[in-house]
C-alpha cells in the first residue's frame, strides 16, 4: 500500500498515474486529505469544483472506486497521529494522520508536488525516517 496526497489521488482517478509510482501497489489517500479534497468539491469560492465538474466526476472524487484509490480508515491511525501531535506539538490532524499512515505503510509517502508537503511535515518525516517521494508533473 502506498500512501499518496491529494494531487496524486486526482491524477490516479483520471488515469494519469505518474510513471514513478509503482503500478503493482494499491494506493491510499489518508481520510483527512480526502476531506480536504472534498472541501474543494463542496465549499464555494476559489477552486470550487462543484460548479465545474459533472455529477459523475464529483461522485468519483466523493466515493472513489477502491480498485483505483482507497481511502484510509483514520481510526487505526488516530493513536499514532495523536502521539505525533504531542511529540512535535501543533502538527494538526492532517499532518499527524499523514505521518501516521506513512509510518504504518512502509515508512514512505508520495506527493504530486513539493508545494503540498509543507515544512513541518517534511521536518517530522525526516525525524521519523519516513521517505518522501515527489512525482512532479512532467
Amino acid at each position: 500500500m502506498l500512501v499518496i496526497d491529494e494531487y496524486l489521488a486526482v491524477r490516479v482517478l483520471v488515469g494519469a498515474r505518474p510513471g514513478e509510482l509503482p503500478d503493482d501497489e494499491p494506493l491510499a489517500l489518508p481520510a483527512y486529505r480526502h476531506y480536504r479534497l472534498l472541501q474543494r468539491v463542496h465549499q464555494p469560492g476559489t477552486g470550487q469544483l462543484s460548479a465545474l465538474l459533472a455529477a459523475s466526476d464529483q461522485q468519483a472524487i466523493r466515493r472513489p472506486d477502491a480498485d483505483v484509490l482507497q481511502i484510509l480508515d483514520p481510526r487505526p491511525l488516530l493513536d499514532e497521529a495523536a502521539a505525533i501531535g504531542a511529540r512535535y506539538r501543533a502538527a494538526g490532524l492532517l499532518v499527524g494522520e499523514t505521518l501516521a499512515a506513512g509510518l504504518t505503510y512502509g515508512h514512505q509517502l508520495w506527493f504530486g508536488t513539493s508545494r503540498n508537503i509543507g515544512t513541518r511535515l517534511a521536518q517530522i518525516a525526516e525525524d521519523l525516517h519516513i521517505a518522501i517521494t515527489v512525482a512532479e508533473p512532467s
Partner: protein, 79 residues
C-alpha cells in the same frame, strides 16, 4: 493408529488462470482510472493538479487548512 498427513490436494481446475485474469483486469482498471470521470472533468482535474491551475488549487487547499485549526494545527506552515 495410522496418522494421515493433512495436506491439501491441489488440482488444476482453471482457478489459477481465472485468478490471474481477474488480477490483470483489476490492474488494468487501476491504471485506467475511474470510469465515471468525464473527458471534460479529466481535462479540468489535470489542469488543477498538473497544469495552469495548480497555483489556484494549492491556494484553495492552503486556505481551507488555515481556516481549520484542528485540521491544520496551530502552526500556519503545515502544508
Amino acid at each position: 493408529m495410522k496418522l494421515r498427513a493433512s495436506v491439501p490436494v491441489r488440482r488444476h481446475n482453471g482457478a489459477v488462470t481465472i485468478g490471474e485474469d481477474l488480477r490483470s483486469e483489476r490492474h488494468q482498471r487501476r491504471l485506467a482510472g475511474d470510469p465515471r470521470i468525464t473527458p471534460e472533468g479529466r481535462a479540468l482535474l489535470l489542469r488543477l493538479t498538473t497544469g495552469d491551475l495548480m497555483d489556484e488549487f494549492q491556494a484553495a487547499l492552503d486556505a481551507d487548512l488555515a481556516a481549520d485549526p484542528a485540521l491544520g494545527g496551530h502552526d500556519a506552515d503545515v502544508t
